[in-house]
Symmetry: C2
């Protein structure tokens, strides 16, 4: 098979899984850390910094954009990537809610 059976889970469970999946790659973690540590706009220096080929970085950026964790603003022929703070905080809140709800236990 190889196909996740999303239809048997609820929206919240699928939503959490999608967020975790986007974050589940060290290159995407590294990209987020790099973007957040630069005060200025980040463009193709991500490629030099991370050490993966340009198409690969572009693909990872697309995945981060797919859940709006980052946004890209066109500045001439460069693109300024930055973290979408609103979404970032929303995600952090969502994950904390999950961790706080999932604590009670028998052992």
């Amino acid at each position: 098979m190889g196909l996740t059976k999303t239809q048997i889970f609820n929206t919240r469970q699928n939503q959490l899984a999608i967020i975790f999946k986007v974050l589940a790659h060290p290159a995407r973690i590294a990209i987020l850390q790099y973007i957040s540590n630069q005060k200025e706009c980040i463009c193709n220096d991500i490629v030099d910094e991370i050490g993966l080929a340009q198409p690969t970085i572009s693909q990872h950026l697309k995945e981060l954009k797919s859940i709006d964790l980052i946004q890209g603003e066109i500045e001439g022929k460069k693109i300024c990537y930055c973290i979408n703070l609103k979404k970032w905080q929303e995600v952090q809140t969502l994950l904390n809610a999950f961790f706080n709800q999932t604590k009670i236990n028998c052992c």
Copy 2:
């Protein structure tokens, strides 16, 4: 290719990615929620509850155990699964540290 280049990332980045990857499936989210909502021991009723075949559930449990998020205690022919609260809180702290460090931005 298809192989993540872990060697070009640091330990922390790989560690975070592994944690996110374990959580990146709705069945594993559902299992964690189900385990935490039961006051008593959870055994093979997980299979009935989630709606995936027994070997599939067993595999997901194994992945959750691989980072110690849950632990299983043998009780006769049943196994009592529960959340490893210590690890659970460690992970929550780690993720929050990541989210808090990765906020400063230019846009």
